[in-house]
């Protein structure tokens, strides 16, 4: 955990690609948000495209990570068949499909009453699973828009990608859109 924090500290305000083995994703999420919310007291947005935001929220609660400064944008709850849980700090969109995510998600973030003004970080979790819902051309377009529309001096944009070796085109695209890649090693996540 200390090594990951050091890497994150050194790359504050940059576009950061976190690559990891899928089995480590839960811990990466907790470590990253524990650092940003608990240590740096930053304010941020978590974009959920892999599972309903409630799972991350519950995990963070159990792991003692404060969430007062975290806003969830959830692109998957409407597809999950689980009971929809609305909360003040969460907004649902209709699905991580190409036509939806490009327009609705970014519009909600950038036009929503100045919500983005004092946001220190945006965390997209995760790029690889988006391939289940859109083709690579659409994903490339989305990531480009994500970076262009959300970049701001001092703001950290983080996106995770799992199993990069299995998705070389997506990995190459992600590398083009980031300032730095942090390749998470399993041993960094051990307590």
């Amino acid at each position: 955990m200390a090594i990951l924090e050091k890497e994150l500290d050194a790359n504050t305000g940059k576009k950061v690609l976190l690559t990891a083995n899928y089995v480590h994703l839960n811990k990466v999420c907790v470590c990253l948000l524990k650092y940003l919310l608990g240590v740096k007291h930053a304010k941020g947005i978590y974009i959920a495209v892999d599972r309903p935001y409630t799972y991350t929220s519950r995990l963070l609660t159990k792991q003692g990570v404060p969430q007062e400064n975290l806003f969830y944008l959830d692109a998957i709850s409407n597809l999950s068949s689980e009971p929809i849980q609305k909360a003040k700090n969460a907004e649902l969109i209709n699905g991580p499909f190409c036509s939806t995510v490009l327009e609705e998600a970014l519009a909600k973030l950038t036009n929503n009453g100045g919500r983005m003004n004092d946001v220190d970080f945006v965390f997209l979790d995760n790029l690889t699973v988006m391939l289940n819902y859109m083709d690579d051309k659409c994903l490339f377009g989305f990531l480009g828009q994500f970076v262009i529309k959300l970049s701001k001096e001092g703001r950290t944009l983080t996106f995770t990608m799992v199993d990069k070796a299995a998705h070389p085109k997506v990995y190459a695209m992600a590398k083009q859109n980031c300032d730095v890649e942090i390749e998470i090693q399993g041993e960094w996540l051990r307590n």
């Binding site: 839960n26 599972r51 799972y55 159990k62 999950s80 391939l131 083709d135 799992v162 199993d163 998705h167």
Partner: protein, 228 residues
């Protein structure tokens, strides 16, 4: 270009080559069989592999056998690393909770509470079929919620299912899992029993079919693909 499935090594020699390198991750897999076919050994070997790979495992035992006795009887297997007990592999007595609790939501909450604390990549519920007897009409909905949530917690889960020798697998569970492995035995012509493993279902996976010979020895559970 679709997302390729991640895979998790099963820990069972011979099995991964039968299913494109391992279990999909995340997924839920039913390992069904009658008494003595090796379900619990299989499940422990799966968790032991995870411990070797630096992953965290969580073993929920229901009303089948107390953990102390289960561990005592399996401690002789070569794949068991006792240093992992209570650390990389954690044991939870779900059975004790089930003696007084029948509310499916509270049972799910109990399971999820442990999952969020431990953050396992591998989970075993041994056996899940006990819950059917306790939950009755709520069982199918419970299984649906359970398997959905287990995958959203980003783990691969083995659910063991007890069946009678004449029954291949518990039907209620079969509909909602991603994979079904059936463990069975036949009386050999020369006497004794031959044990088998069959992959009935593994979503997203080009897997071998038919029964394949199984050996359970001090080395643990081994499949011999192609040998019938």
């Amino acid at each position: 270009m679709a997302s390729k499935l991640s895979r998790l090594a099963s820990g069972i020699p011979g099995l991964d080559s039968m299913m494109e390198g391992g279990f999909p991750f995340p997924s839920t897999v039913l390992v069904a069989g009658s008494a003595g076919t090796g379900k619990t050994t299989f499940a422990l070997q799966f968790l032991s592999q995870g411990a070797k790979d630096g992953e965290q495992g969580l073993f929920f035992t229901t009303l089948s056998e107390p953990t102390q006795w289960m561990l005592r009887f399996v401690s002789g297997f070569e794949f068991i690393d006792k240093d992992t007990f209570g650390k990389e592999i954690q044991y939870v007595e779900l059975g004790t909770f089930l003696r007084s609790e029948r509310d499916p939501e509270r049972i799910l909450d109990f399971i999820e509470d442990h999952i969020t604390e431990v953050m396992p990549q591998r989970i075993v519920i041994d056996p899940v079929t006990v819950l059917g007897e306790l939950l009755e009409d709520n069982y199918r909905a419970f299984l649906y919620d359970l398997t959905t949530r287990l995958k959203n917690w980003q783990s691969t889960t083995i659910l063991t299912g007890e069946v009678l020798p004449t029954q291949p697998y518990p039907v209620e569970v079969s509909y909602i899992v991603d994979g079904i492995l059936v463990l069975s035995y036949e009386i050999a012509p020369e006497g004794g029993r031959r044990k088998y493993l069959e992959i009935l279902k593994m979503r997203g996976t080009n897997h071998m079919t038919g029964k394949h010979l199984v050996d359970i020895s001090v080395k643990g559970f081994t499949v011999q693909p192609g040998l019938r």
